[in-house]
Amino acid sequence: MTRILCSNGSSLTRRSMLGLLGAAPAAASLTSIGLGASRAWAATGQLNIYSWPDYFSTADLDAYAKKTGVTPNISTYDSDDTMFAKVNSPAGSGFDIVIPGSSWIKQLAAKGLLEEIDHSKLDLGSLDPHLLNRDYDPGNKYSIPKDWGLLGVIYNPEAVGGEIKTWEDFFQAGEKPGVSGKIRMSDSGWETIGPELWLEGKDWNTVGEADIRKAAERLKSFAKHVKSFSGLDVNSLANGAIVLAQTNQAKARAAIGLNPKLKWVVPGPMSELWVDNYVLIKDAPNLEQAYDFLAFQLRPEIQLAETEYIGFPAPLAGLREKLGADVKDADLIFGGKDVDFSKLTSFVVNPETVGFYSQLQTEIQAAAG
């Protein structure tokens, strides 16, 4: 008994080890409090943004901080639906600016979560009219575009054995040996089912349950050719693990940078244009600061810098000409030279149908594995 009570044996039985193992993370966390946390709790001059990670150029944020003394406090989300769930709950209070995708703006507004934008405070004149006044937010009542992207297809022409011009070509190519099992499709129900709906001449925003289910049937039988529905890794495209993929133009640009043989196309008859926007949250604590920040972000030189940093084009009119000659594959930033905006549609989440889209996505993914 004495042996146990006054144990002097293996180091593992010393209680003091507890204290020391606790000391390490304790010291780590206490010192970390000084790591830039102080500004967030400053009483004045704050701005809270909810966005994708690494979505603002650090140089521009520094420039804004130097100009106004305010460093925006950016919290991040990993998907548009998490963003909606948070903003639609008390966790959303405290944010001034949020960066939602175009699909969710109508629902955010419907739930009364957004502040109407006072257009007298901001000048949208420098922006490309194609990106303004779109059907996900007529008149830009609630949102200002930040950057935009396209749903297209990147493929290896050798493996696919030809060119892809329409979504039908995509499906046909996918069934060939050498391509089958090396395809990536989107993880969002409407981007997966959309192509089939477009081939049938339907509009994914107005279509009903029966049509969605019918279109999904084709996807379910196609699913066995698909390798991945997760986020596309450009390395897989570069090394040939994936030869046919639905993706956005920035990922395509990165992949072509690694493997110039790859080709990008925005297939007909229709495809998707998505826009990430600035919106103001109702009862935002720092509304004036938010307008000031937005005015800063809308400056042409800032939009140019942001485009170069994040790889997605800002909505600035004439941006293509303004890009420096040293920017690689600059056309790809815009999805190629001849993007036809009349053949692009933006998805708007509709509570009646979005459940079907996501349920069918789960079933399509199940059919694949």
Binding site: A28, D54, T58
Partner: protein, 278 residues
């Protein structure tokens, strides 16, 4: 390493002993490979500011870039703070719970506590996350660091409790009964008799609670606020558009920093032990 000499000492036993060493070393290499790879890739140039699997160039730029990305830096510091507090609470609660599951006098209470603990692990994290969000909404709890820490603790407590429980099951009851015979109170027995025997389990359970809290993703994604964001939430979000090597730099830096502190703690421990050994 002192390999235990078997009774017969024949070649079969040596083969088994060597096999165990090889297996152990293989496991350690398997566990270390990704973190070493992450450190190497934090120096990779990448393409158009994004990380690539092939090394395209060698550069130091990502470390200052990670430092300047205020959002990333704050998420690191927030993660460290949150996981420290969560680990502390979980160690205390988990030890109490794990001990009570085995030693509480009433068998009904023991069964209830055990079932409760298992339930903490069974419920999927997305369910816990949404329930907490809605719970705080209805009860009008303001969301902040406290609610984030509190939301992460249940699962960490369960982990600690089960580890402690496994250890308590192997303890000798008679020692506790002897202590009781000698007039000790329950609390005193716990502190002077049980805890020293549980020390390794508590230490290791604490480490598991800390790492669980640090890496917590799903519940944290629901409970982060405008003011506090954690590293896993940041990292998971970066997967959508592709992470830049800066996040690898940040992760490598945090890892090396934590290792430094641990080494320091071990050093202090060895130094303070010397007088006892003399």
């Amino acid at each position: 390493m002192m390999v235990e000499r078997s009774y017969r000492g024949d070649w079969r036993d040596h083969a088994i002993d060597s096999g165990l060493v090889v297996w152990y070393l293989a496991a350690v290499i398997f566990l270390f490979a990704p973190i070493i790879a992450a450190i190497v890739y934090s120096f990779n140039l990448g393409v158009v500011n994004k990380q690539t699997a092939v090394l395209t160039g060698w550069t130091w730029q990502w470390y200052p870039a990670a430092w300047h990305d205020l959002s990333l830096r704050r998420s690191v510091s927030a993660s460290l703070v949150v996981s420290f507090w969560s680990a502390l609470i979980s160690i205390v609660m988990g030890t109490l719970l794990g001990y009570a599951i085995v030693r509480h006098p009433s068998s009904k209470v023991r069964r209830f506590l055990a079932g409760f603990t298992y339930m903490l692990l069974i419920v999927p994290e997305s369910v816990i996350g949404v329930s907490l969000l809605l719970f705080f909404a209805v009860t009008r709890f303001a969301l902040n660091t406290v609610t984030l820490v509190a939301g992460i603790t249940p699962m960490a407590i369960a982990v600690v409790a089960l580890v402690i429980r496994a250890r308590v099951l192997t303890l000798d009851r008679e020692v506790e009964e002897a202590a009781a015979d000698l007039g000790s109170t329950r609390v005193a027995t716990l502190w002077l008799v049980i805890l020293p025997q549980l020390a390794p389990a508590v230490a290791v359970g604490g480490v598991m609670a800390y790492t669980f809290s640090f890496d917590n993703l799903v519940v944290s994604a629901f409970l982060t606020t405008a003011r506090i964001n954690t590293l896993p939430v940041y990292l998971y979000g970066s997967l959508q558009y592709g992470p830049s090597p800066a996040v690898y730099a940040a992760a490598a830096a945090v890892f090396l920093f934590t290792m430094l502190l641990l080494a320091l703690a071990v050093l202090i421990y060895w130094i303070t032990r010397r007088p006892a050994a003399a």
